[in-house]
């Protein structure tokens, strides 16, 4: 169909679909008077039974941990897909001319910018680790901390050192981290089955709610997810970077 008939068909269709959507949403209770039973039950057992003060992370990593297993493998599968789709073929040779790539900076990057860039790297890593570890106490958790951890080495590139970034986060090691994190999270589930007889059940002792390692295997799960997410995002960043910086399309 050419563009006009496509938009015409879409015009009619979107009117009908919009009406259907709004008619359905109108049946919802008013915004703000939530009286669901699931939330109250979780709030009741969250802190006392599960020793975790951040209920969202408690739900995410333990009570509904199987959802997160599926979600982690969506991340793992998608990053595998990125690696698969952006893999170089025999025809395209990757010949990094060291000088150009190493100094691959934005043209006007001054020394000050590079220095500042390098300074924020340790800060990013510290924040990332903090958020991963405090997942079950304050807002945060494996995923959020993992992405911030992935931003650390990327800031090295922004500070103008592409090949240095490859030293800090070599492709092989990062892919290993991604795979280890994904397998680790599934193994924690398996640990529940082996030690306590039910998949994903908590098998580690509880601490005092509000303290650092207080929520049994949830801290382990948060760490595994953090490792996987940072590994996965670094693999994706370096795949896209390799594309943008190094791969010269040999096949023309």
């Amino acid at each position: 169909m050419n563009r006009t008939t496509r938009l015409a068909l879409f015009g009619i269709a979107v009117a009908g679909f919009g009406f259907v959507l709004v008619d359905g949403l109108a049946g919802l209770p008013d915004f703000g008077n939530y009286h669901g039973v699931y939330g109250q039950v979780i709030t009741g057992i969250g802190v006392t039974e599960r020793h975790a003060t951040d209920l969202v992370t408690a739900l995410n990593f333990d009570i509904r941990g199987f959802d997160t297993l599926g979600e982690e493998f969506i991340l793992f599968g998608s990053v595998l897909g990125v690696v698969l789709i952006l893999r170089e073929l025999r025809g395209e040779s990757e010949h990094p001319n060291r000088h150009e790539a190493d100094e691959h900076t934005f043209a006007g990057a001054s020394e000050a910018l590079r220095a500042l860039g390098l300074m924020i790297v340790p800060a990013l890593v510290a924040i990332g680790v903090y958020i991963v570890v405090h997942g079950q106490i304050t807002p945060g958790g494996g995923f959020q901390g993992g992405v911030i951890l992935a931003a650390g080495p990327f800031a090295v590139f922004l500070a103008g050192r592409y090949l240095r970034m490859k030293l800090i986060a070599p492709h092989m090691l990062v892919e290993l981290g991604d795979a280890a994190g994904a397998a680790g999270y599934a193994l924690i589930g398996l640990g529940g089955l082996v030690f306590v007889g039910v998949f994903f059940k908590n098998f580690l002792p509880f601490g005092i709610p509000g303290h650092l390692l207080s929520a049994g295997q949830m801290d382990l799960a948060s760490a595994a997810v953090g490792l996987e997410v940072s590994g996965a995002f670094l693999v994706a960043f370096s795949e896209f970077l390799d594309q943008a910086v190094l791969v010269k399309d040999g096949s023309g």
Binding site: R6, D30, D54, R64, A236, F240
Partner: protein
């Protein structure tokens, strides 16, 4: 006020669909897809919101405080992970499509025509 968030969500869903249908650039299509997805966040969170309620973090407030529904927040967390990863995969496909077809316009992608 009671229907506004859901109306905005429905509008975002349809605007995202329009963005995909009318787009002449694959990267714009992918960004419109994220707009469609953000509509699901608003519906999910809107369903779980309670007036005058706290966030479900009981690190510093008593456990008896009225809290918003944590379940929908977990669902939206999973949604955001899906958005980040599927968008990364689609961007990789868009780069490869540009390398193979020389253009990002969906109507120039001519390999599959029946």
């Amino acid at each position: 006020m009671s229907f506004l968030p859901f109306a905005v969500a429905a509008w975002l869903f349809l605007a995202g669909l329009y963005g995909i249908v009318s787009s002449r650039n694959l990267i714009r299509t992918i960004l419109s897809l994220t707009i469609v997805q953000s509509a699901t966040y608003l519906v999910l969170l809107g369903v779980g919101y309670a007036d005058h309620a706290q966030a479900p973090i009981f690190a510093d407030i008593p456990q008896t405080a009225k809290a918003v529904d944590p379940v929908v927040q977990v669902l939206v967390l999973t949604d955001i992970v899906i958005e980040a990863t599927v968008t990364a995969l689609l961007l990789a496909m868009a780069v490869q499509a540009h390398k193979r077809f020389g253009s990002l316009d969906p109507s120039d992608l001519r390999a599959l025509r029946d």
